[in-house]
Amino acid sequence: MTTVDLGTIRRLVSVTVDDVEHRAPEGATIMDVLDDAGADTPRLCQAPNLTPVNACRVCVVEVEGSRPLVPSCARKVEDGMVVRTDTERVAHSRKMVLELLASANDLSEAGDDVARWQIEYGADPERYGPPGPPAAAGERGNRHAGHHGIPDGETRATVAQPVTVDNDLYVRDYARCILCYKCVEACGTDAQNTFAIAVAGRGFDATISTEFAVPLPDSACVYCGNCIGVCPTGALKSVAEHERREAGTWDPEGETVTTTVCSFCGVGCSLELHVQDNTIVNVTSPSDHSVTHGHLCIKGRFGFQHVQNVASPGEH
């Protein structure tokens, strides 16, 4: 007897997108169909190695028979489904999401795709006025519901606040955090199952927080950095990257990425070494690799420093 895992046998269903018929396997998402068709569907909270959480709503589409707009990242296709992406309602909704996020958050490290979508959908965060003053360190994490005055309308509210640096491995720059939940999912049931962080607070005061907003070294965090690996906006990043950016020596154009295998235990995790100026600055893992699904442990993500501590050979 030879057993071969074929997975679930799935039939193909017929889906119409903007008047064009597509065939897709049952269980695929609308986003899968759009991606296969080559559409440029914006996304922030979606990742191929995480369960969809429908947080950002920037990938919405119209589905015939559905009153509200539908998040394409999560909605599974059904036979005979009629999807529209080219409507005013879809474009307007996507624009508002991108515009409001950009009005409150620093999206300058959110990547080329986000910058392109901002232009494509005509997002104009400046129309809400100049940014209001940043919060003091730790202040946003301790706000309580209901403690709000009426805004004066002169400035736009932001989540601007100083960067939290409370350990040697990674920083939390919550001025960039769009509450996409990816870090929470990666820390939780989607990968690491450590549950060091969750969303605390409600509404505009919601933040990603450790329990009782304690510093990371006092939390359950095990520094796998899988939250960094999925963060789409640069809110979570390595200390190495943070320091280079602060010093003005961050050089993404000169960066090479080389795939290799972790040098520690015998699991054989696939690593992508991000190298600038002959120095490893970040380590990631491909989300489509069968061993890691894009997730690593502290040794894989941060344990490379021994190959570049050239000044002190033999020390440890």
Binding site: M1, T2, T3, V4, D5, N167, D168, L169, T189, A191, N193, L216, P217, C221, V222, Y223, C224, T256, T258, T259, T260, V261, C262, S263, F264, C265, G266, V267, G268, C269, S270, L273, V275, N278, T279, I280, H289, S290, V291, T292, H293, H295, L296, C297, I298, K299, G300, F302, G303, F304, Q305, H306, V307, Q308, N309, V310, P313, G314, E315, H316
Partner: protein, 550 residues
């Protein structure tokens, strides 16, 4: 196992299994990404039992935690085997068709009643029975182990006792049912596969097999000695007998990692000639006559490594090596040239293709192009059109005896407790463990700053600390039959009365291998790192007791 030195299952099989039995493995900390696959399996409804003397981070996820006394693994396995037989849950069809030696196995486990097993192992009899029956009843079950099984004086017997359980229940050779040794180092599997063990040629061929040796001799123009070579522990014994006078160490740090390390250091220091080839000037290099600086091949050169699921994957050059460091293969070829053999200057791919031309069963189909395109391949992969082999030994389930091949043998192994016995003089059991953020002797992981890291300490149970009158953080003297070290005490909930533990990661803080037992397994050469008999002595106030090696 069954003639092939590798685990039987792909990692993803644990996601589709019904029962996970982790034995002597703290995978949550030591193989964290494999444990992600385990957690997926648990979320899909699998049950898990963990066999470990300590209450580890892994054990907290288990349905049942069998906290056995160190070194009683064979007793526990045999007790489970007998419980399965008593319940009539052995897989008769599989045993009759695909195994040999069943009757001897039945006799070997016959004395291990639940009562006796509980007495010897310290595990509750009901829990032993529950675990055994859960394993036997599961449609599919994965049995995984790590150093908790292999760092004993009877490592191979321990492994064979676990294999017996799989044969008894038919949990091998099917998707989701298998035996998974989680390898401690990133290429320990590949090193063995390439013949860097005393009894094998590259590709796993037995070095005593004249036919296979002749193929290698013909390809290499050599005459490979037909006897098995020495393993590491035998080499140190040969050094002691002054039969080995020159040693060439590549990427190993025995001056820190050997058990009873003071003895090992004396032998290394007494050699006529010692060459060390490493990416660091290690403690071993301090004894060397010649140090050859090499590249960190995983990021400074090209090649392959092989993981615990027999997956061969490419490593690639990402940064330039420092100073005079050179790739290991270039150093070896240069050395050969100086010794009068021109091996040329082969590229890593040429070296690999030579291996493929000789490792006909396992590696012949794994071209660099395929490894690149397919994200690695699992051996056996005998031809370019072969997809690789996620699950091994499926042949054992074939109806046709010809296809089924050689049956898998039961091993009627005998329980033998740790050689370093507890006594009134040495009443506590010390075991060595690994932590999530550190690795072995710490040469690599010492290079980065981990927020999880605390001062190295002897971790003990609160009751033992109270009985000894020592408080958390107090420095004590830890004495074994080999020597003594000083260490601070930390009360840790993972310990239990009579069991202390410590890591080997920080020898500059606590040189723990001064006290571990170098008694080694005659079959694998692995030392008894997991079982040291110790006592804890309070330090006299204000006094500094001289410590061996300090």
């Amino acid at each position: 196992m069954f003639g092939a030195g590798g685990g039987t299952s792909a990692y993803s099989e644990v996601e589709d299994t019904d029962l996970v039995l982790l034995w002597g493995s703290n995978a949550r900390e030591t193989h964290p990404i494999y444990f992600h696959h385990v957690l997926t399996g648990l979320r899909r409804g699998a049950g898990m039992y963990v066999v470990d003397p300590r209450r580890t981070a892994t054990a907290r996820w288990a349905r049942g935690h069998l906290a056995l006394d160190v070194g009683t693994d064979i007793a526990l396995a045999h007790g489970m085997g007998r419980a399965i037989l008593d319940a009539g849950l052995e897989n008769r069809a599989f045993i009759e068709r695909a195994t040999t030696g069943f009757d001897e196995y039945v006799r070997a486990v016959e004395p291990w009643t639940l009562e006796k097993t509980a007495e010897v192992t310290g595990v509750d009899a009901d829990l032993i029975r529950e675990t055994a029956l859960a394993y036997a009843r599961a449609d599919r079950a994965q049995l995984c182990w790590t150093l908790g099984i292999t760092e004993h004086h009877n490592a191979v017997d321990n492994v064979r006792a676990l294999i017996d359980l799989a044969l008894l229940t038919g949990h091998v050779g099917r998707w989701g049912s298998g035996l998974v040794p989680l390898r401690g180092q990133n290429n320990v599997q590949g090193g063995g596969d390439m013949g860097a063990i005393p009894n094998r040629l590259p590709g796993g061929y037995d070095v005593t097999d004249d036919g296979h040796r002749a193929r290698f001799d013909a390809a290499w123009g050599s005459a490979i000695p037909p006897e098995k070579g020495l393993h590491l522990s035998q080499m140190f014994e040969a050094m002691e007998r002054r039969e080995i006078r020159a040693v060439y160490v590549v990427g190993e740090n025995p001056a820190e990692s050997e058990a009873d390390v003071a003895h090992a250091r004396a032998l290394l220091g007494g050699l006529d000639h010692l060459v060390v080839q490493d990416i660091f000037r290690t403690a071993t290099a301090e004894f060397a006559d010649v140090v050859l600086p090499s590249c960190a091949d995983w990021c400074e050169y090209e090649g392959t490594v092989t993981s615990s699921e027999r997956r061969v994957q490419r490593v690639r050059k990402a940064i330039e090596p420092p100073g005079l460091a050179r790739p290991d293969t270039e150093i070896l070829c240069d050395l050969a040239r100086r010794l009068g053999h021109d091996w040329g200057t082969p590229s890593p791919e040429e070296v690999w293709d030579e291996l493929r031309s000789l490792s006909l069963d396992w590696h012949a189909g794994m071209s660099y192009a395929r490894l690149e395109a397919e994200g690695g391949l699992q051996w056996p992969c005998p031809s370019l059109d072969h997809p690789g082999t996620p699950t091994m030994h499926t042949r054992l389930w074939e109806r046709d005896p010809a296809l089924r091949g050689t049956p898998a043998p039961f091993a009627p192994v005998v329980h033998a407790g740790p050689l370093d016995e507890l006594s009134p003089e040495f009443p506590l059991r010390l075991t060595t463990v690994r932590r999530l953020d550190s690795y072995n002797s710490g040469v690599q992981t010492g290079g980065y700053t981990s927020p999880l890291r605390r001062e190295e300490a002897l971790c003990v149970d609160a009751a033992d600390a109270r009985a000894l009158g020592v408080h958390d953080g107090e420095r004590v003297r830890v004495v074994s039959r080999r020597g003594a070290v000083e260490a601070p005490v930390r009360v840790d909930a993972a310990a239990r009365p009579g069991l202390a533990f410590i890591t080997p990661h920080f020898s500059e803080q606590v040189d723990v291998n001064l006290i571990t037992n170098e008694a080694w397994d005659p079959q694998s050469g692995t030392s008894e790192f997991k079982a040291t008999a110790i006592r804890i002595e309070k330090l006299a106030v204000g006094a500094r007791v001289p410590v061996a090696g300090a």
